[in-house]
């Protein structure tokens, strides 16, 4: 008996919302970053779920792509955060607001 695809989507949706709330409410850059990862993984989960629903591997391939891109993005993103931390001894995104107007 297969688990209905709706369950996966509900979990995926919950994860995505958690991630979104994290991005919107957190001040710490690292935590925002982790929340973004959560959103990405929520999307990966729904991709895999749909893949199975349609018996089509494209979705899983896309999920792998997404993970690889996420890994690359983490490298760049963390590097930026480390650089900001070294300069300012803080990773609070509200402090980093010079580039406006």
């Amino acid at each position: 008996m297969r688990t209905p695809v709706a369950y996966y989507l509900i979990v995926s949706g919950i994860l995505f919302m958690l991630g979104t709330i994290g991005v919107l409410t957190r001040k710490n850059a690292l935590l925002i970053f982790m929340s973004v990862e959560l959103q990405l993984n929520a999307v990966n989960l729904s991709l895999v779920a749909f893949s199975r629903l349609h018996d089509d591997l494209t979705g899983q391939v896309l999920a792998f792509f997404s993970m690889v891109v996420a890994a690359a993005e983490v490298v760049v993103g963390l590097a930026i955060i480390v650089a900001i931390y070294r300069r300012r001894r803080s990773v609070d995104v509200d402090d980093v607001r010079e580039l406006r107007w």
Binding site: T20, V93, D94, V96, R100
Partner: protein, 628 residues
């Protein structure tokens, strides 16, 4: 006509050009020799002209033509213009005048300009002028003619403003250039029309096929446009205003450019293009009327002038009017004869005036002169010959020339032209007598006049040669058909004949008129029995108005120059500054204001960006969902 090649033709303009180049680059180092070099080259050119003349005369009368193709100038599609020279009877006559009188004036200028710091440059310009003038008269098509036409205009500008330290001289140069430019531009339009109609500018083709190519109206338009160029160059009414001011140049320049040669280029142009003018008919009438009006108008101005050179300037304008009168009556040979005679006596009088000015230490006002005949005998005698010639005293050249014009008028039943022409002749005798008596007779009226000295031989020898020429040039046209007329017949055809008073009766009337004028002027200015200054006062305001050329300058200032300046001011400070610049600036300011508002959405808060991103994603999702 079988055209023949003469190896000498290119030398004619090449020699003065060489002189111009050498003097332009090495004139400073040549020092005093610059003038001699320039003169020698023009004399050499005159020698070449004489050689060509003998070659030309050796040929049968219907084949007197040399053509020389120097190089292909413009070669585009079916439009070809060559740098072609053409020597026929008409250009031969002009070449002899330009190089012959030009050479004498060059020699004279050696003395006249001796103390000038820019001696070399002066002769470079003079040689350049002779080069362009020769190109003008030798061109075998309208483009070469136009090259010379503009070239002499340039040299005229450079030489009028030669002493440009004085702002008035630079102003006069600008005025001359711009005024003639008006005519030149119209002439250029005429040339464009010729290209448009004929597909070529070659004289041979244009005149040969004009009858079949042009309608009467087209011929009128082209002829009048060409005549507009002639009006500008030859200082006819209404574009005459530049010539009196052109006297700001050194006197040899006035003699060469503004009396003997350049200003007669307009006459040459009309005579050269007479086929077009005859096709039109109307154009010839216009030429006649303009010539007549100019002849009378300028003569009235000349009577009131105080500056000896300005008298001569107005006199030149008036005499050019006589030439155009002759042209307008189809008497082309008479016009050219007049041109030759005028070149002699007007160059002579200008050089004489220059000698007076030189002797008077740069004083040009005749009121300061008087009694110069004892101190400057040679100048006096030669000047007297020139003045009597123009006044029409036989047997000097001017008598025959002027008489020929009046005779044509009388013989073709143009009574009004004859009477007005006689009036013009009377007036010219009058102003010449006035100038003569004021300058050379009675007692000196200033210290400069008491201490005046005769000019050096380098100046009076050319005067003497010219005086001899003036005395004898009349014989050129003495026989009934005229030697010069016969020589020119191949180009101009015979002038109109007809019946009227006999030649001797007409000559008698003309001589009586001239002598009357001279006697009257002697009585007023020479006898001491009339207080001529009080007389002048009594006639005000006419003398003052005539002195200013009947205020044509002021009229132009009011009607043309001030409105043009106002228009330029509006364009510069309203249209350009307010409207064009204003709209550009307004667009810039508007973008800036918009950006000032718009950039405030950049708060710098990362989370608000994320929220917008999120809301956007939701919005797209909702949109897609609704669509489904």
């Amino acid at each position: 006509m079988v055209s023949q090649h003469s190896g000498l033709l290119w030398l004619l303009p090449a020699l003065p050009l060489l002189g111009a180049v050498i003097n332009l680059f090495f004139g400073e180092r040549l020092g005093r020799y610059a003038g001699w070099l320039a003169s020698a080259l023009v004399i050499a050119s005159f020698g070449v002209a004489l050689a060509l003349m003998s070659q030309l005369l050796a040929k049968p009368a219907d084949d007197r033509l040399f053509l020389e193709h120097l190089f292909s100038w413009i070669d585009v599609g079916r439009f070809h213009v060559g740098a072609d020279l053409r020597l026929d009877d008409l250009s031969m006559t002009m070449v002899l005048v330009v190089t012959g009188i030009g050479a004498l004036i060059h020699v004279y200028a050696i003395g006249y300009m001796a103390d000038d710091p820019r001696y070399g440059r002066f002769f470079a310009y003079m040689n350049l002028f002779v080069f362009f003038m020769l190109m003008l008269v030798l061109g075998a098509n309208y483009l070469v003619l136009y090259l010379g036409w503009e070239g002499v205009g340039l040299c005229s500008y450079l030489l009028i403003g030669f002493w440009s330290e004085v702002p008035a001289n630079a102003e006069a140069a600008k005025k001359a250039f711009i005024t003639t430019r008006i005519g030149d531009t119209l002439m250029l339009v005429g040339l464009a029309l010729i290209v448009f109609r004929f597909g070529t500018l070659d004289f041979e083709v244009v005149f040969g096929t004009a009858g079949s190519v042009l309608t009467k109206d087209a011929a009128t338009v082209i002829a009048l446009l060409l005549f507009a160029g002639a009006i500008g160059k030859s200082a006819q009414v209404p574009l005459h205003v530049w010539l009196p001011d052109a006297m700001a140049g050194p006197t040899p320049v006035s003699a060469l450019i503004h009396a003997a040669t350049m200003v007669t280029a307009g006459v040459y142009l009309v005579v050269r293009s007479h086929v077009l003018f005859e096709l039109s008919g109307v154009a010839l009438t216009v030429v006649l009327v303009v010539g007549l009006v100019t002849a009378i108008f300028a003569a009235t101005c000349a009577i009131a002038q105080q500056d000896i050179k300005r008298v001569l300037a107005y006199s030149t304008i008036s005499q050019l009017g006589f030439m155009f009168m002759a042209v307008g009556m189809r008497a082309y040979a008479v016009a050219i004869f007049f041109l030759v005679a005028h070149a002699f006596y007007k160059a002579l009088m200008f050089l004489g005036a220059g000698s007076v000015i030189h002797g008077m230490h740069d004083e040009q006002d005749m009121r300061q002169m008087g009694g110069l005949r004892r101190l400057m005998p040679i100048t006096f005698v030669t000047f007297l010959i020139g003045a009597l010639a123009q006044a029409g005293v036989p047997p000097l050249a001017g008598f025959f020339a002027k008489d020929a014009v009046l005779e044509v008028a009388q013989h073709t039943d143009r009574t009004a032209v004859y009477l007005l022409g006689s009036l013009g002749a009377f007036l010219s005798a009058f102003y010449l007598g006035r100038m003569l008596f004021l300058t050379f007779f009675r007692e000196p009226r200033s210290d400069a006049a008491r201490t005046a000295h005769e000019s050096p031989p380098v100046m009076w020898v050319p005067l003497a040669i010219l005086g001899f020429g003036v005395a004898t040039a009349g014989w050129l046209n003495l026989t009934p058909e005229g030697r010069l007329a016969g020589f020119l017949q191949d180009v101009t055809g015979f002038g109109p004949g007809g019946n009227g008073l006999g030649t001797f009766e007409l000559a008698g009337i003309a001589v009586v008129l001239s002598l009357t004028a001279l006697v009257v002027t002697w009585w007023i200015y020479g006898s001491g029995r009339v207080d001529w200054q009080a007389l002048r006062e009594g006639l005000e305001p006419f003398p003052r108005a005539a002195l200013r050329g009947w205020d044509v300058d002021r009229a132009y200032d009011t009607v043309v120059i001030q409105p043009a300046k106002a228009g330029a001011w509006i364009t510069a400070y309203v249209v350009d500054a307010r409207i064009i610049d204003g709209s550009v600036n307004a667009i810039g300011a508007g973008v800036r204001r918009l950006a000032d508002r718009g950039r405030l959405i950049q708060t710098g808060f990362v989370r608000s960006y994320a929220l917008v991103l999120f809301l956007g994603a939701v919005g797209i999702l909702v949109y897609v969902g609704v669509r489904l």
